[in-house]
Symmetry: C2
Subunit: 416 residues, 2 copies
């Protein structure tokens, strides 16, 4: 991809500097703010989001099948679970004007979560113990009527999310699957390149279960959550369920973190509401047990920027970087150099298919191009200029010094 074909630009000044991730992602041309808590994903940003979601998808396929539910659903489903009047981030959809109202005066829920849709769906296909366990997930745009939309992609009104729901013959089977889901999550964080600083943290089970639910928290200095980690056992708690006096006991390491996933035993809360039973092996009808498993995919994009950046810009983990190689062409007014850079671009594209971004701007100065490469944050910067002669100048985003080498050497060293 060429810079000139992105149809976006990096920006010097921005109006939304509510957080490091919003500031850097907007400056670097990954997202554009439409209103508080709602962003357009620009070509670079959409590539990162897609890479994150494809990793999530791949790992979730181990424990479920992918579906896509509607976002706008009947209010009756939410009345059935008693959540229509209690969920304080719930939005509704109605006609926007008199002309629309005259045609359709309906009132719908715009879903922040999908237990109300997946439970009656599973009920259509699960009748016997032979149909269990099963898991369905989707990766979808969701809406929360968020009062304090802030912190860029960390707390949005509209956001992207993976939500998986599992169904079981018993609490025991749910618990077994719940442990498998942890494995799938760890594998996902490993593939995303953020496993090492991620902690599994006990949290409240709410009114669903007396057991804990679990959050996956990435250690980040600017995080909005606090993790209490028992120094001896490694057991982690969030603030809500941390042992009394943990703060002053000296037994806990306390640090800031961002939530990047959560898993929740729902037990029979929703199968009770929808009277969802299955025919057991002994011929009796039994209640289905459920669990739910969330990951905010757009949120992970924001959290990564909070964690991986320096004063010059973003430093993407290679797994989700918009492009692996950022080719900077200098002296492009010179036809000979320009032809040479185009050749380098063609060679790189062959060895890094669809993974090269080429700064082909003729009018931008060298300093501007270097600054933009650091801002955008791809793992490898390759510079070709009059000065580089028959070599290329290579710098990793997370290192300070550039190295001069032949193009062949670069390819053999960094392509897979």
């Amino acid at each position: 991809m060429k810079f000139s074909k992105l149809y976006t630009k990096t920006r010097k000044t921005i109006s939304d500097d509510s957080s490091i991730n919003a500031k850097l992602l907007i400056q670097a041309g990954f997202i554009d703010q439409v209103m508080a808590g709602a962003y357009t994903y620009l070509p670079l940003g959409l590539r990162v989001l897609n890479k994150i979601e494809n990793i999530v998808r791949q790992k979730m396929n181990a424990i479920g099948v992918e579906v896509l539910m509607p976002a706008v659903v009947p209010t009756e489903l939410w009345e059935k679970t008693g959540r229509l009047d209690t969920v304080d981030v719930l939005g509704q959809v109605t006609a926007a004007n008199a002309a629309a109202k005259a045609k359709n005066d309906g009132r719908y829920v715009i879903s922040p979560t999908h237990e109300e849709v997946i439970t009656p769906l599973a009920q259509k296909f699960v009748t016997s113990y032979k149909d269990l366990p099963c898991g369905y997930y989707q990766i979808q745009t969701k809406f929360r009527n968020e009062p304090r939309a802030k912190s860029g992609l960390l707390r949005c009104r509209e956001f992207r999310m993976k939500d998986l729901y599992s169904f079981h013959v018993s609490e025991e089977d749910l618990k077994k699957y719940y442990e498998q889901s942890k494995d799938a999550y760890w594998s996902m964080y490993e593939a995303l390149g953020i496993k090492n600083d991620t902690f599994i943290v006990k949290a409240s089970g709410g009114d669903f279960t007396k057991d804990y639910s679990h959050e996956f928290q990435l250690r980040v200095d600017t995080g909005e959550d606090t993790v209490f980690r028992n120094i001896k056992t490694g057991e982690c708690f969030n603030k809500e369920v941390a042992p009394d006096g943990a703060e002053k006991s000296g037994e806990y390491e306390i640090f800031k973190a961002c939530e990047i996933g959560n898993i929740f035993p729902l037990n029979t809360k929703f199968s009770d509401a929808f009277d969802f039973t299955y025919k057991a092996e002994d011929g009796t009808n039994k209640k289905v047990y459920m669990g739910c498993y969330g990951v905010g995919t757009s949120r992970i994009m924001g959290v990564m920027v909070e964690k991986y950046h320096d004063e010059k810009g973003i430093i993407w983990p290679e797994s989700v970087a918009p492009y692996k190689v950022h080719l900077v062409g200098l002296d492009l007014h010179d036809a000979e150099i320009s032809a040479k850079v185009e050749n380098v671009f063609a060679t790189l594209q062959k060895h890094f298919p669809d993974e090269v971004i080429f700064d082909d701007r003729t009018e931008a100065r060298a300093g501007e191009k270097f600054a933009d490469a650091d801002l955008v944050g791809c793992p490898l910067r390759v510079v070709v200029s009059r000065r580089s002669e028959d070599k290329v100048e290579v710098k990793k985003r997370n290192e300070k010094e550039a190295t001069v080498m032949s193009l062949e050497e670069f390819v053999s060293k960094y392509s897979n």
Copy 2:
């Protein structure tokens, strides 16, 4: 993929038989109805939708860059264009209950189309004639406050759509790009396998332009639109703009069709509303010209079923079939046969990666499995049973007779 891992089932009876596509897609386990005009895409349906959208994406990349805009946007944007009170399918999002209202009493538009978002977005990046032309598109879930949601995936409240918007220095440049967009559309329909029966049809330009807009219409007996095709010139008109007396003149072939795309010269309607100008080569500020280009991707899925089916089920074009090969295993209670079928499955998966669905149900009868293979509609059915000995029995979905051949022969004949 194994049938037993889809976590869905084919159904004998269904409640939504509003149309052929709804009936067959629900019976075959591609979609599930949540309410009138809103469906969950089940694993088979999501695969078809993704295949359609990937083809659309690939062809649109030739004329634009992909972005993703929020669905829920500020009402102010729609006030600015004067459409907040006039668009009769417009929905709004507000707090769903008192608890939500207390936290955030905001009112937003849920977008059926995105001129109100893309115009101010392009305005941020386009300042000079050097930045033009450019095109942005997205593939997104959209909402229309549809009064008569009906006909399955053909007229939904919530649906999937590709919408592309282009920006130009002049009406002349818009017209040039508009012709390029037609080429991209034809290439898209060709890749989808539906080009031969698609017609480009003149339609009203509404209040945007005195020129025509254009619809792409697929000839379908159950179509809701009527096309007037001039027998001599091949020129097509929709009902709204057909020449007076066309019906009785004998000069027109008249047939039913389903719209599967539309392109529209917007001219300066939206750049006027947002005062979107660019600095021209002569230093003056000039108005930006715009076009928009739509494709209902979920609608195409429905239209394909309307067109390609028989009394037994769906007949998918190979380009978008959920799987290329449908492997039916019979006599699976017999351990020897069961092992043999698993081997065939493994071989097929090697040669048709991720393109084999295996009916591994032990309890379903042969007739049931054959009926389901016809219902689901994959292009190639392969049967392995006690009777087939060291061969496999092969039947194309669109042919009546099966052929017996070795597995090697099947692979060499049908894998790419």
